[in-house]
């Protein structure tokens, strides 16, 4: 597939973007949650560190892959944006379902009724994935013409 690089670039940028927004807004500005805080504080900090480092590395890698796709001439902007949304949404959905609920690593916020937060979080994630998938599909159609 000529534009697989476009897609990978978008997905990595999207994951990085979601991690960055999550880290900046919820961890550092609102102090709502850590990445992991059911265990000791130490483990929470270690996973926070991994999250942070992984996030910025995937943005850098994603943007370089984007530049490479453009250099090769197979770059489809619509597909890239679609992939960004899919990456960000999938990351958020994984965070919401697996991390929050299955592993119960942490909750979005503490000392409040949690389900409205969870529903908003996951619905938003699904919307991102769906919009991204639509962009990916239509971008593919256009590039084949």
């Amino acid at each position: 597939m000529p534009s697989s690089r476009t897609v990978w670039s978008g997905v990595l940028s999207g994951i990085g973007l979601a991690a960055f927004v999550d880290e900046t807004v919820f961890h550092q500005l609102l102090h709502w949650h850590h990445f992991y805080d059911r265990s000791t504080l130490t483990v929470g900090l270690v996973s926070d560190g991994l999250f942070h480092a992984g996030g910025f590395v995937s943005i850098v890698v994603g943007l370089f892959l984007r530049a490479d796709a453009m250099r090769r001439g197979g770059f489809v902007p619509r597909r890239w944006w679609g992939a960004v949304l899919v990456g960000a949404g999938a990351f958020q959905l994984y965070d919401g379902l697996v991390q929050h609920k299955l592993f119960r690593l942490h909750q979005i916020r503490y000392h409040v009724t949690i389900w409205p937060y969870d529903v908003t979080w996951d619905v938003l994630a699904v919307v991102l994935v769906v919009v991204g998938a639509v962009l990916l599909a239509t971008g593919r159609a256009r590039s084949r013409q």
């Binding site: 000529p2 560190g49 250099r71």
Partner: protein
């Protein structure tokens, strides 16, 4: 006096480096000026960290952290990018060159140059210094102080060589480098928070002084690691560009498994002669013009045939010997 050992080491490296470059120049070889600039900048970093007005205030914890950032992170990064081993292999007399090659291919160097060893020595060392009583001990023992500083400088060099090194020591793929960077980044992110949370290290002054130092370590470390990620990917970008230009000249893509058909720019990517000798810091933005522009239409290259000769992803290692994985000779 002993705390000047890292400065002494880098000054010796600088002098030898300049002598090597002069030797190459005299016999008509070229050596990228950017690499020389890197080694000069590295020595400047160490000098700023070790000499007054910074070096004589390292009892203030934030100053100590700033010294660490300069000597154990920034300076090793620049040194690794300056390629001193490559220079030595070109400029030194044959006997020295042979001995150096034998050393580079030896088992201890191979083990030391592995990502795991570099991570353990560097990040592990950092944890031992700040989370145990070592920091307080080194504040009162000059020899210990100098030894810890030297260890952090050398361990930083080891890590920098693993992640961004251009020397033929033991090269790793981009994925391994990025993985190493994420692990180091995570370790480096976690440490300041632990220090902040548990009021460590012991003996680093008031709580405020410790907190300022921990935050400087966190944000400074993140900044340097971001730069390292960009450097790793920029090196990948250059290497891929070279491969693309090569395959465009030959008319067949050299990487297998990339795509069934690819569109390659008609304008060559690396025909620019300065690219071949360009230093490590001169790559960013260089290949922008390789996008097809003007009347030229992109050249469509046909179906990829699996090319057994170029089935490895990396360039052949000039160091040979110690490398794992497939090599071609």
């Amino acid at each position: 006096m002993l705390e000047l050992v890292p400065l002494g080491v880098s000054a010796v490296v600088l002098v030898a480096y300049v002598a090597g470059v002069r030797r190459l120049r005299r016999r008509g070889d070229r050596w990228a000026a950017a690499r020389t600039r890197c080694v000069v900048a590295a020595t400047c970093c160490v000098a700023v960290a070790d000499l007054p007005p910074v070096g004589n205030h390292d009892d203030v914890f934030a100053v100590h952290v700033a010294q660490h950032l300069l000597t154990a992170m920034v300076a090793p990064l620049l040194l690794a990018l300056s390629g001193p081993v490559t220079l030595a292999l070109r400029a030194a007399p044959t006997a020295v060159r042979k001995r150096l090659l034998r050393l580079l291919r030896s088992r201890p160097v191979g083990v030391l140059a592995s990502p795991a060893a570099a991570v353990v020595l560097d990040v592990g060392g950092l944890y031992v210094v700040y989370l145990t009583g070592l920091y307080r001990a080194m504040e009162s023992h000059e020899v210990l102080h100098a030894a810890v500083h030297l260890h952090m400088f050398l361990a930083g060099c080891l890590l920098a060589w693993v992640v961004v090194g251009i020397d033929p020591v033991r090269r790793h793929g981009t994925t391994v480098k990025l993985g190493t960077l994420v692990v180091v980044g995570a370790g480096h992110d976690t440490l300041p928070k632990l220090m902040y949370a548990h009021d460590l290290p012991v003996g680093a002054g008031t709580a405020l002084a410790r907190h300022v130092g921990a935050q400087l370590l966190y944000y400074g470390g993140t900044a340097v690691e971001l730069v390292v990620a960009v450097v790793v990917m920029a090196q990948w970008w250059r290497a891929t560009g070279r491969r693309l230009a090569h395959s465009a000249r030959r008319g067949t893509p050299t990487r297998r498994g990339v795509s069934k058909s690819r569109v390659l720019p008609r304008v060559g990517c690396t025909d620019d002669p300065s690219a071949a000798i360009g230093g490590p810091a001169s790559f960013i933005g260089r290949r922008v013009r390789s996008r097809p522009s003007g009347p030229g239409r992109p050249l469509r290259v046909g179906v990829v045939v699996a090319d057994p000769v170029s089935s490895t992803r990396r360039r052949p290692r000039r160091g040979g010997g110690t490398a794992t994985g497939p090599t071609r000779h």
